[in-house]
């Protein structure tokens, strides 16, 4: 059980309630599938493109045209179902969801109503060190709608049908989540899974992953669920967290002031940090679902299901466990690395080329993630291959460069995408291990710092460190530090 935060970002006053409340959250997540062509025609699904250039008579619902189901869409949805432990229906069908809106050219969305492709699955999440299983009610396939553009002309709205007919899966969860944090972790896990199995790129900013939130509150200990609201228009994890906290507090305040929560659809305005009622249950559409007569039932036989199962890659959870056992990584590091497929792939690319997995992991967890964050980049955009990171680690392990130099080499690798061996060679960054050269350096340092020499001789050990630093400085960090130590002692003892 999680308590509701008593303060909410942006609000000054502390609020205290008569009762302790529990928030109950279920999600409807839409993920655009990354198939090459649309769900019922051969138009490209590519994002962007001039308005209405990725559209044809079929996806714009012209008179007389007919849909033909893209088999890949079924395959991708089954992949998603298998990766989330769902039952895959041998027989499912598609239905029409009827409503009028200009972005929906047929005035119905082809979706699945009572016989979805996948059902009864789950995803395990971990929040505050505790495992929790979140139920997946169903996953079904459907088509996306077009996009209205209201701002371009004064007197009219324009419609772009490029997105119309792009395949989606809708993932409906059980009302198993109890906090914004659980929702966030669930969505992160879901996103990682969908990316791992290569069915969706899950780019929230492009709308290829969208979540609607069904939320209710009830006094702790009460069995019956409270009245829920549905919140739409959530396009970032941050917005989702804020919306959940905001809506939970709104509902609690309604209850606390003796009111009742109305079942309705609300729109979250992330800028204002408030939700607005869109339509109540009474105003809700009657979608008049009925079986799509232009399409045949979907049959997924055991053989096809097995083929899809066999083609699934290792999933994040399994990968995480493997990183812990195979590379001896701490659980925290392993879960960060496997949280993004691109990052995990990068890691594996690196450890193929070095035995020092721990060092690779440290570089990723440290310098690499920090740099990505600074530059607001995603793991997909790392500008050099994992192999380069392995080379960098090897250069350090072999003593070819020092740790200090390595940081500089890493920076150059990131900015120029260059092979670290080339950088080291081109810029002469190898550690200097030539004894006679280093003796000359040490002698020069001693000559220039008579006071420190005197201090050392009078027993001040600190002065030794200063002299080492000076010698390293003299060699621009390239000197082999062990050798500097040794030569310096020898020269001072002379």
């Amino acid at each position: 059980m999680n308590k509701i935060p008593t303060t909410i970002k942006g609000q000054e006053s502390e609020v205290s309630y008569n009762m302790e409340y529990e928030v109950v959250i279920g999600l409807e997540v839409h993920a655009e599938l990354s198939t090459k062509s649309k769900i019922y025609c051969s138009c490209t699904t590519e994002f962007g493109g001039e308005p209405n250039t990725h559209a044809c008579p079929i996806c714009t619902g012209m008179p007389g045209v007919l849909p033909v189901l893209n088999k890949k869409v079924v395959e991708y949805a089954v992949r998603a179902g298998l990766a989330t432990n769902c039952h895959i229906a041998e027989y499912s069908k598609q239905d029409r969801k009827n409503y009028f809106y200009p972005d929906l050219p047929k005035a119905f969305q082809t979706s699945q109503y009572d016989l979805p492709l996948c059902s009864n699955g789950y995803i395990d999440i971990e929040v505050d060190g505790k495992q929790k299983r979140i139920g997946i009610t169903r996953i079904h396939i459907e088509e996306d709608a077009g996009k209205l553009m209201h701002d371009e002309w004064d007197t009219a709205s324009l419609i772009d049908y490029n997105r119309c007919g792009v395949p989606l899966i809708e993932i409906v969860t059980e009302p198993d989540m109890r906090s914004a944090q659980e929702v966030k972790v669930f969505l992160e896990n879901l996103k990682a899974i969908l990316q791992y199995i290569d069915v969706s790129d899950c780019k929230m900013q492009e709308g290829s992953l969208r979540a609607d939130i069904n939320l209710s509150v009830r006094p702790v200990g009460q069995k019956e669920l409270g009245t829920r609201t549905e919140m739409k228009n959530l396009n970032s994890f941050k917005a989702i967290v804020r919306a959940i906290e905001g809506e939970a507090q709104r509902q609690i305040e309604v209850l606390e002031s003796g009111g009742t929560v109305i079942q309705e659809t609300r729109r979250w305005d992330d800028v204002k940090g408030m939700s607005y009622a869109m339509r109540s249950k009474e105003e809700a559409h009657d979608y008049r679902y009925f079986p799509e007569p232009d399409l045949m039932p979907i049959i997924v036989d055991e053989k096809w299901k097995q083929e899809i199962k066999d083609s699934l890659p290792e999933l994040p959870e399994a990968r995480k466990k493997r990183y812990i056992s195979e590379y001896g990584l701490p659980e925290y590091d392993a879960s960060i690395l496997t949280g993004s497929k691109a990052l995990a792939d990068f890691f594996e690319d690196a450890v193929k080329n070095t035995d020092n997995a721990k060092a690779v992991s440290n570089w990723i967890m440290g310098d690499l993630l920090r740099t990505l964050k600074e530059k607001e980049m995603e793991a997909e955009q790392i500008p050099f291959p994992g192999e380069y990171l392995a080379k960098l680690v090897t250069l350090i392990d072999k003593g070819t460069i020092s740790g200090t130099i390595a940081k500089k080499v890493f920076e150059k690798m990131f900015n120029q995408g260059k092979d670290p061996e080339v950088i080291v060679k081109e810029e002469g960054l190898e550690v200097v291990s030539d004894e006679s050269a280093l003796v000359a350096v040490v002698k020069k340092v001693l000559e220039n710092n008579p006071q420190s020499v005197a201090d050392y001789k009078s027993g001040k050990e600190k002065a030794f460190g200063f002299l080492v630093g000076q010698a390293m400085k003299e060699t621009k960090g390239k000197a082999n530090p062990q050798m500097i130590n040794k030569i310096l002692r020898e020269e001072l003892e002379k």
Binding site: P57, P63, G64, V68, N98, D286, R288, Y289, D294, L295
Partner: protein
Amino acid sequence: MELYELTVHELSDLIKEKKVSTVEVTKSFLDRIEKIDSKVGSYLSVLGEDAVKRAMEVQEKIDKGEAKSPLSGIPVAIKDNICTEGIKTTCASKMLHNFVPPYNATVTKKLLSDNAVIIGKLNMDEFAMGGSTENSFFKPTKNPWDLERVPGGSSGGSAAAVAANLTAFALGSDTGGSIRQPASFCGVVGMKPTYGAVSRFGLVAFASSLDQIGPLTKDVTDCAMVLNCITGYDPMDSTSAKVEYPDYTKALVNDVKGLKIGIPKEYMGEGLNSEVREAVLKAVEVLKELGAQCEEFSLPLTEYAIPAYYIISSAEASSNLARYDGIKYGYRAEKFTDLLDLYKQTRSEGFGTEVKRRIMIGTYALSSGYYDAYYKKALQLRTLIKKGFDEAFQKYDVILGPTAPTTAYKLGEKVNNPLEMYLGDIYTVSVNIAGLPGLVVPCGFDSNGLPIGLQLIGKPFDESTLLRVGFTFEQNTDYNKRARIGGEL
């Protein structure tokens, strides 16, 4: 004899033997349309010069030996709910009065690749809803046998054009009898093929699970020739059947010996006009004499076919026609206040009464709280009706009966009584519900001299047996010859 009086196979022979040119043939029909169609009103668009140009191109191909299909150079007219690239396809509706599809229906493509010459688009009941072609937004079509009477519908333009020799053959569509009933009223041959045998791609949908395109022709031989062209699996239509499609002309055998023909007694009872009944019974006698085994049997649930049909077809129509909203193409109301008002005004003004009636019936039947009572029940009935036919076809090769309870009625006679109009579909709708093929051939005339059509119903994908029975009947009676009097107009 004029060229326009000839059948497809007669014209095809003349063209092949170079006795006439395709241009002569096309012009013969175009001239006749020019002269006569103002009386009949079967065409919504006529492709004058374009058709002649096309005929010339086809003639060149024939001369080079590149056009071998028997339909090469044969004029065809197409019901206006079948898409023709660059040619208006209106569905006889104000809603699509200006719609020019940028694509061809699969059947249009097939006709073109067989080098047929499209000479025009034919009138119909708006969106194929109706049985008299009086529901056309543009004009009613008249029955060539009596211009005071309806040609039937919804493919009334197609049937009238064939009957009046205004085209060599026509394509129609049949959702609940829309090819067969007008064929019966106009004394021509009409076939509704098995559901899935002809691609529906490019047929503007009325009721997707029932619609089927089929030919209207002057005789059974022509019917078989056109079927050879238009049937076949189409990857663009998910409901298209992947089966072997035979050469239908092989079925044109003058022999019905040993064939088992069942006559549902429910088709011969109350409500059936006595002259129609007599003509059908006489046809049974003819077939018996030719060696067929005919007997009456009971096809239960016949009385439920009409309610089941009107619920299923209207439900699908309410969804199929929702796309006509004034946003993308077709009619848009001139005055509106906001989006909802745009929808309301456009659809109120753009659709005719019958279409609106069906949309309302269908919307109601699918509404939450009513779905189980109406739509779901209708689907259950559909299963049972299919089962009834399956059982009958264990015993019989062909089911025989009337096509419509009456012959052609007067224009305006039933306009204000939709229910009576709906009951006229009693013998045809079951065939669509069960997805079966149905063939109509002329089998007599009533006391007013109006043609009567005999309906033959077959097993799924067994159009061949229907053609065989129809052909034999045609060869051994003079009804077809007597029915080909359109030239008197």
